[in-house]
C-alpha cells in the first residue's frame, strides 16, 4: 500500500487525490487499533468501556437467554478491599480480568482459569489531599487496554484521582510510564476511564465544581508523549476548532465564540466544560465523540453568555484533535446539566429504508439527542421523560432549545419544581443498544429540584459552586417517602418512542448491558442485578448483591461458558450522604435529601460478582483447583 502510494506521487494530481482517498479509507485498517477492533469481535473479550468503538454494550452471545436466565447463579466473586463507589466495569482480554477501584485506584489482574489467585496488583501512592477536591465521591470509571506491538508490551491504562495517568505492563503490572494530566492544587482531578484509539490514549478532565477549565488530551501510548490537547473554552486555536468546524451547521455557531462573545471578561478561564464521561469512535469518520461538561460556577448570573463550548457534543479528529463539529445542547446552563453522558453509535434504518449513521446521547438536561455523526446534523430529539419542564423543545432551525422562563435559575430567586434536577434525567450511566432491534436501553433518573444561587469568589483549589439545592423524586415518584427516583426504558431513536418503561425505586445510575439472548441487564442502587426481557421489559431474574451498583454489567465467554460480571459498591453522587455520613438535605450538592432512604436498602462495599448458568466456574469443573493439598487416606 505505502510503496504503491510513493510511486503514484509522481503521477497526476487526479490520481494523487484518488490515492489519498484510498489512503484515508485504508488508514484506520492499517493502524494498531485494528487489534483492538479484532479483539472486541470475540465473545471471549471485553476490551474497552462500551465493549467496542460503537460503545453499545451489546453482546451477540446467546448462551444466556430469556429461556434460561432464571438459572443464573454466582460463579465466583472478588472483593477489592476498597469502599466508596465502584463505577465502570472490568476489562476481560486474553483470559484475564482487569479490575479498577475507587481512590486510591488499585488495579488487579485475575486469571480466569483460577480467579482465586491474584496475578498482579498495582497500588499507587497518592496524595490524600486529592480526596478533598473530588466533588462527588472518589469514583473511577474504568481501565483501557492497548494490545502492544513489536517495541512496546501490551498495556493497561489507568487514570488516578490525583491527576496522574499510568501505563502498566498488562502481563506483569509493572509501571511502564506515568504522566501528570491534572493538578489537584487547582482543583483538577481524574475520574474518567482512559480511551485507546490507534496508538494513543485519550484522557478527559474533572473539576468544573472548582472552576476547572476543561480539556481533553491525547498521549502516545508508547511513551506518554503529549500529542494534542484541546480545551473546551477560550480562543479557537486552544479549542482546536478545525477549518471546517460546523461548516455543515453554521447555525450552531462557528468561530470566535469561546471568549468574549459568549463569556464576560476572563470568566472563560475558570469556565468548566470538563469531560469526565464516555467516548465512542468511528474508524470511518476518524472522529471521536464525547460531551463537554457544565460551565462554572453553577451560579449562572456570574457568567452571562452562552458559555461556549461547554455542554457540547464534539466530533474531533483523533489524529489532530481538531473539532469537525460541535453542537451546544445547553447554552448558558442554569442547572448543572453537565453534558458528559454516554455516546452510542448506531446505523439505523428509517421507515423509507434509508440508513442513517447516528450518534445517540441521552443528556442530563432531559433530551435524548440523535445526531448524524458524519456532520453533526440533528436527526431526532426526544425526551427521556415527558415531565421535563425547563425546555419545551428544540428549534431545529437555529439548533437552540426553547427555554421555559418559569424554570430558569438566577440570583435573588429560588426556582421550584425544576425537572430534571442537577443530577439530570440521565447521568454517568453507560447505556446499551441492540442493533438488531434498533432499541436503546436507557438507565434514567427521575429527580427534580429547587435551586437558589449565591455569590462567591473564585480561589484556585477551592469549590466554586454557588448554589443551594433541594432534590426530590419527579412527578411519577413518591415524594412523601423519597422513593421512585429512577426509570429504565427501551427507546427507539428513529420514532422518538418508548417500547417499554419501568419505574425504579432509586435512580438507575450505572448503565445497562444488552445481549442477543433477548436480555437487558442492569444493576440498581438498592443492590440488585436484574435481567429483563429486552422486547417487553418483563422482569425475569434478579440477585441481591452485597451493595448497590453504580457501574454497568459486562459479559464474556471463557472456555465455552458465558459469564455476566458486575461491580458492587454503592457511591458516586447519589450515595455521598451514606459515604461521607451527611445529614443536611442540601449537603452533597443536594443529593443527601433525595437519597435519604438509600441506607435502608444498602451499605458500602466494593467488589465484583460473576454469574453463569447454574454457577458453573473453574471450581465447579474441578473442586480441587487452587487447593494447597488434597486429602490423603491414612498415613502419618
Amino acid at each position: 500500500m505505502h510503496n504503491s502510494l510513493v510511486k503514484r506521487r509522481v503521477l497526476t494530481s487526479v490520481s494523487l487525490a484518488a490515492a489519498l482517498t484510498a489512503l484515508q479509507f485504508c488508514a484506520p485498517l492499517a493502524s494498531a487499533n485494528d487489534k483492538l477492533i479484532e479483539l472486541s469481535k470475540s465473545n471471549e473479550n471485553w476490551v474497552m468501556p462500551g465493549r467496542d468503538y460503537n460503545a453499545d454494550n451489546y453482546s451477540p452471545d446467546t448462551q444466556i437467554s430469556t429461556a434460561n436466565v432464571k438459572d443464573l447463579r454466582v460463579a465466583w466473586s472478588f472483593s477489592t478491599g476498597v469502599l466508596n463507589g465502584h463505577e465502570g466495569a472490568p476489562i476481560v482480554v486474553n483470559g484475564k480480568m482487569y479490575i479498577n477501584t475507587p481512590f486510591p485506584n488499585a488495579v488487579f489482574a485475575l486469571d480466569l482459569d483460577n480467579p482465586g489467585k491474584i496475578l498482579w496488583q498495582y497500588h499507587p501512592k497518592q496524595n490524600p489531599a486529592a480526596r478533598s477536591v473530588a466533588c462527588c465521591d472518589l469514583v473511577n470509571r474504568g481501565l483501557a487496554y492497548w494490545p502492544g506491538d513489536d517495541k512496546t508490551p501490551a498495556l493497561i491504562l489507568s487514570n488516578q484521582l490525583d491527576g496522574n495517568v499510568v501505563a502498566l505492563n498488562a502481563e506483569t503490572g509493572d509501571l511502564y510510564w506515568k504522566v501528570e494530566n491534572s493538578d489537584i492544587h487547582v482543583g483538577s482531578t481524574l475520574t474518567i476511564a482512559p480511551y485507546v484509539i490507534k496508538d494513543e490514549v485519550l484522557v478527559g478532565s474533572s473539576g468544573a465544581e472548582l472552576g476547572v477549565r476543561g480539556y481533553v488530551t491525547a498521549y502516545d501510548v508508547h511513551d506518554g508523549t503529549q500529542k494534542w490537547r484541546a480545551y473546551e473554552t477560550g480562543p479557537d486555536d486552544e479549542m482546536k476548532l478545525g477549518a471546517d468546524f460546523n461548516s455543515h451547521n453554521p447555525q450552531y455557531g462557528r468561530f470566535g465564540l469561546g471568549t468574549s462573545k459568549t463569556w464576560q471578561e476572563n470568566t472563560w478561564k475558570i469556565g468548566g466544560g470538563t469531560n469526565w464521561g464516555w467516548y465512542a469512535y468511528d474508524p470511518g469518520t476518524n472522529l471521536v465523540y464525547y460531551g463537554s461538561g457544565n460551565p462554572s460556577p453553577w451560579n449562572a448570573t456570574m457568567r452571562p453568555g452562552d458559555n461556549k463550548w461547554t455542554m457540547t457534543i464534539f466530533g474531533r479528529d483523533v489524529d489532530t484533535g481538531e473539532a469537525k463539529f460541535g453542537y451546544q445542547k445547553t447554552p448558558h446552563d442554569e442547572w448543572d446539566y453537565a453534558g458528559v453522558d454516554v455516546m452510542i453509535l448506531s446505523d439505523e434504518k428509517d421507515d423509507n429504508g434509508n440508513i442513517h449513521k447516528l450518534l445517540f446521547h441521552p443528556d442530563r438536561n432531559g433530551f435524548i439527542y440523535s445526531l448524524d455523526r458524519t456532520n453533526g446534523d440533528l436527526f431526532t430529539v426526544g425526551k427521556i421523560d415527558a415531565t421535563m419542564n425547563e425546555f419545551k423543545d428544540v428549534n431545529f432551525k437555529n439548533g437552540q432549545p426553547i427555554r421555559d422562563p418559569e424554570y430558569a435559575t438566577y440570583m435573588d430567586h429560588e426556582a421550584h419544581d425544576v425537572c430534571p434536577s442537577a443530577m439530570g434525567y440521565h447521568d454517568q450511566a453507560h447505556d446499551s443498544y441492540d442493533p438488531t432491534k434498533q432499541l436503546f436501553y436507557v438507565n434514567a433518573n427521575h429527580i427534580c429540584m429547587d435551586w437558589e444561587p449565591f455569590m462567591l469568589p473564585y480561589r484556585a483549589g477551592q469549590f466554586f459552586v454557588g448554589a443551594t439545592l433541594h432534590m426530590y423524586p419527579g412527578p411519577k415518584g413518591d415524594r412523601q417517602n423519597a422513593l421512585g427516583l429512577g426509570q429504565v426504558k427501551a427507546y427507539d431513536a428513529v420514532h422518538k418512542s418508548f417500547k417499554w418503561q419501568v419505574q425504579e425505586r432509586f435512580a438507575a445510575w450505572g448503565g445497562s448491558l444488552s445481549t442477543a439472548g433477548n436480555l437487558v441487564f442492569y444493576g440498581t442502587l438498592d443492590g440488585y442485578i436484574k435481567a429483563r426481557n429486552a422486547d417487553t421489559g418483563e422482569l425475569l431474574w434478579k440477585f441481591k448483591l452485597p451493595s448497590g451498583v453504580i457501574g454497568y454489567p459486562m459479559t464474556y465467554e471463557h472456555k465455552g461458558v458465558q459469564y455476566v460480571a458486575i461491580y458492587y459498591g454503592v457511591g458516586g453522587w447519589p450515595a455521598v450522604g451514606m459515604v461521607f455520613d451527611l445529614q443536611d438535605p442540601t449537603a452533597g450538592l443536594g443529593a443527601v435529601g433525595a437519597f435519604k432512604n438509600l441506607q435502608h436498602w444498602t451499605q458500602q462495599g466494593g467488589g465484583v460478582m460473576v454469574f453463569s448458568l447454574n454457577g458453573q466456574s473453574p471450581y465447579t469443573q474441578d473442586v480441587n483447583l487452587d487447593e494447597y493439598s488434597t486429602v490423603k487416606q491414612g498415613g502419618d
Binding site: 509501571l175 504522566v179 501528570e180 487547582v186 476572563n266 428549534n395 430558569a408 480561589r459
Partner: protein, 80 residues
Amino acid sequence: LGALAYDGQHCKEAGVCWEPQPGYPEKLAGSKYDVKGLEEPHEVAKQANSERAMEERNAKRTAYFHKSGKWVYDVDQIPE
C-alpha cells in the same frame, strides 16, 4: 417574569443567543454580581501555569525514557 423573558430564541448571531433575565444586568463589570477573584490575575492564571509546568515535567520524563529506556517519574531524580 413576563413574555419578554429569556427563552433562547433571540440570537445576535449564530450560536450567540443569551439575553439577561428582565431586570438583570447585561454586563457583569461594576454590577453587584461581579465575580470576586477575577481581578487578581495570578489567581485566574494558576490553572494555565500549572498545566504548562506539568507538560514541561512530562516532556523531561519522556526524553529520559527515550535516552535510557527507563521511566523516572521524579524529575529531580532524572540524571543530567
